[in-house]
Amino acid sequence: MEPADIGKTFRRLDYETKVTGRAQYLADMSVPGMCHGKILRSPYPHARIAKIDPSKALKVPGVVAVLTRDDILHDEGIEPFYGPVFKDQTIVAVEKVRHVGDPVAAVAALSVDAAEEALRAIEVDYEELPAVLNVAEAIKPDATLVHESVKLPPSGFADLAELKPVEGTNVCTHFRLNRGDIQKGFAAADHIFEDTFTLPATQHSFLETHACIASIEPGGRITVWATTQNPFVVRTQLANIFKVPVAKVRVIVPYLGGGYGGKVYPKVEPITVALAQKAGRPVRLVLTREEVFYTITKHAAVIRMKTGVKNDGALVARECEIHLDTGAYAEIGPRVAKKSGYTAAGPYKIPNLKIDSYSVYTNKPPAGAFRGFGVSQSAWAVESQMDIIATALKIDPLDLRKRNGYDEGDKFVTGETLRAVGLKECLDQAAQSIGWGKKDEGKKAANVRRGKGLACMIKATITPSISSAVVKLNEDASLSIYAGTVEMGQGSETVLAQIAGKELGIPMQTIQVLGVDTDVVPYDLTTSSSRSTFHMGKAVQLAAQDILRQLKQIVAQEYGVPDDQVTFAGGKIRLPETQLDYSDVMFKRFGMQGGTLVGEGQVKTSTKNEFGEKSTSAFWFLAAGAAEVEVDVETGKLKLIKYATAVDVGKALNPLGCRQQLAGAAITGIGQALFEEIAYDNGQLINPNLVDYVLPSLGDMPAVIDPICVEVPDPNGPFGAKGIGESALIPVAPAIANAVFDAVGVRIKDLPIKAEKIFLALEEKKEPSR
């Protein structure tokens, strides 16, 4: 068995159980005595609940319990209000419903069928209220209020402390960023560009819907099996809602069937626990596909961007207003808006900025985290406008980006110094992959035009944050890794094993990464924000180094060899005269074949960086994308020929795993660029299924997707690695829009880039008077 290594592809540890159909996902699990939960949801976007009567539902055979607002309002043991940023959500609706699909009641029954029948027997009288269905309506001075008031938590996220709802309005939060002197900046500009870009809400559409099993022991201890990306956040929230100490809540997370941001923060866990409490027995709740659309979406946005540019292409001023539709509940929308604001300047040095980024309440399903987290919204505007500027100034779009783009040591918009910045390498390599600057020689029909487009981005990771890991060296020198990172498809188990195995010089086959159980693994903030390799990887590395330190100590004590004469190589301990196996040293220490060495590692990122500056990100993501398209000028039909995605990964620990993340994120981006869109009619979500909400399939793929790993190591990452989960998604839509412009000269500013939009724009271009 060869020792584990980094920079080398290893077969993923989660693969064999998955390809044999043996991997257990939540909906495959059951617990003894379990009954089935179902949720009654609002048919109205906004209504007051006059009356709710569950008596008929309780008579349906097989029904065990019905949960309504009366249960959560009059129970001393329940805090009805919760939410990751503001306490604006309730387990079931209390006074009013705020979006179609808002939970109104829930049933626990012996079968799913009985639970569904009981839902139909619950009598609810609604008094419909006027609804605000988009941000333009919601921000009018006399708009109907989605929330009359919003409760603030006693303490919350450090990075969001300054953001508060604007009383008496639908503005959930308003993030401001000002830099330099905006008026002087525009006065110094030779050209001013002003454009508005929009993008619709989309849905994560993981094939595994949200699900939960909740079980409450006599005495009140809560156990939940959850489809969550952040078990420790769910644990804290459940402890707060059900008023029990954190130690009395246990969250177990099996493999997830995808997450993409849609499984962070509490989703179905609070309602499942409340239902299990009421039922007095365990409850399993598995959402239907339709319900997932009511549970979480990606923020639709309207972005107005005004940019001042010098003749030579230098960006000198930008004013930008971003309105993000956060739906009926804040969820994590305030941070999404903040991240959009931070990246409204893109990866560019713009000395004068005035940025206002709002999350706005509307009567629509809540919007929250989605791979790309606010930056896929801002980048749509930033990168589309870059090409508008490049065209007007007759500058090559690649040159314009490189002229303004960040280099190592430049200051980010917050004033902090950027470190490990592979932006221009990404741009060059993506451009090169599609033959940037070369005329297309391919054969094509007379009505088809080819074009090429580029885009790039910068993104931050959640900071401050904490990841802790424990590793146990067993008596036979095998290793158990305890880490709270959720394996949701990204390959974290394998990378963590590679890191520990590399440090200790032991083979992958002797390493086990344990499942996530908050009773067992130490604290980790979240599996999101592309943070796990960087943070948890480092924590595991430190934990493995802790084991080496202990081995050295034992050797010094037991063999009398001083520290400085002990080295490690290939899983052996080298002494001046001889070498020892870890298991020899374990035997010597414990006097039998037994015993455990426990190593600990912790990473706690700070709001101060190594330069002593206020820091908003523990590391930086840089990436570029390049698209080559064909457009049919008669129909507007767009065909993606090639897509290259270059991401600064710091160091590719598992190269195939990196390429999977890059290509996978790019494909999600292709769906959002070309056709994904949640459609509403009067507040009704009209395509909550996978026929009408179309996902990319094999047939939608370009002939080639080229995932390129650029390596500019970050000194604080494990072996230089950075996070990469989100980067590749962000440039896709603007790169394609820029390629469409290059092909046929029309500029699409409203996602998705559908054939009819291109067709209509082409028609308008033909007859500008019409």
């Binding site: 993923r12 390809v19 159909g21 094939l207 995808g258 999977q660 994120a665 996978l690 026929v691």
Partner: protein, 155 residues
């Protein structure tokens, strides 16, 4: 209304009592505890629930168990021969054709049906045959490579 049906599941003769409205997916998952096939969209477009019925892929979420009476069913659990994995399973692992794994059972079975029908499919034929399977993690390029690696080989 219950009905007893007989069928062969992964090579074993089985008899089972099902409700007339029980789906094939619920039957294999709940009555045979074969949970490799997943419920994804529930309207036969995502392919996560795919099973092979007499060698042909069906969306088990929308197929009645009673209609499978007398048929032969293959699930992912039946793909390997003892400890020896099917070449498609090996290729999917070697080429990284899965991430979260939720769609994998459906892709493997659909790919097997394709290769059984057409041992040397072209890229376009693979694309067409697998158009009814979604991989939301976006492993399409790797899935294509894995199927191409296995096509034409001894299975």
């Amino acid at each position: 209304m219950k009905k007893t049906i007989s069928l062969k599941v992964n090579g074993s003769e089985r008899s089972v009592e099902v409700e007339a409205r029980t789906t094939l997916l619920d039957m294999v998952r709940e009555q045979f505890a074969l949970t490799g096939a997943k419920l994804g969209c529930d309207i036969q477009v995502c392919g996560a629930c795919t099973l092979l019925l007499n060698g042909k892929p069906v969306s088990a979420c929308s197929y009645l168990a009673v209609d499978a009476d007398g048929c032969e069913i293959l699930t992912t659990e039946g793909l390997s021969a003892g400890d020896r994995l099917h070449p498609l399973q090996e290729a999917f692992m070697d080429l990284g054709a899965l991430q979260c794994g939720y769609c994998t059972s459906g892709f493997l079975l659909t790919a097997k049906a394709l290769l059984d029908e057409n041992p040397h499919p072209s890229e376009d034929e693979i694309r067409d045959y697998l158009a009814g399977n979604f991989c939301r993690c976006g492993c399409y390029q790797e899935i294509m490579q894995a199927i191409k690696k296995v096509r034409g080989s001894e299975r």
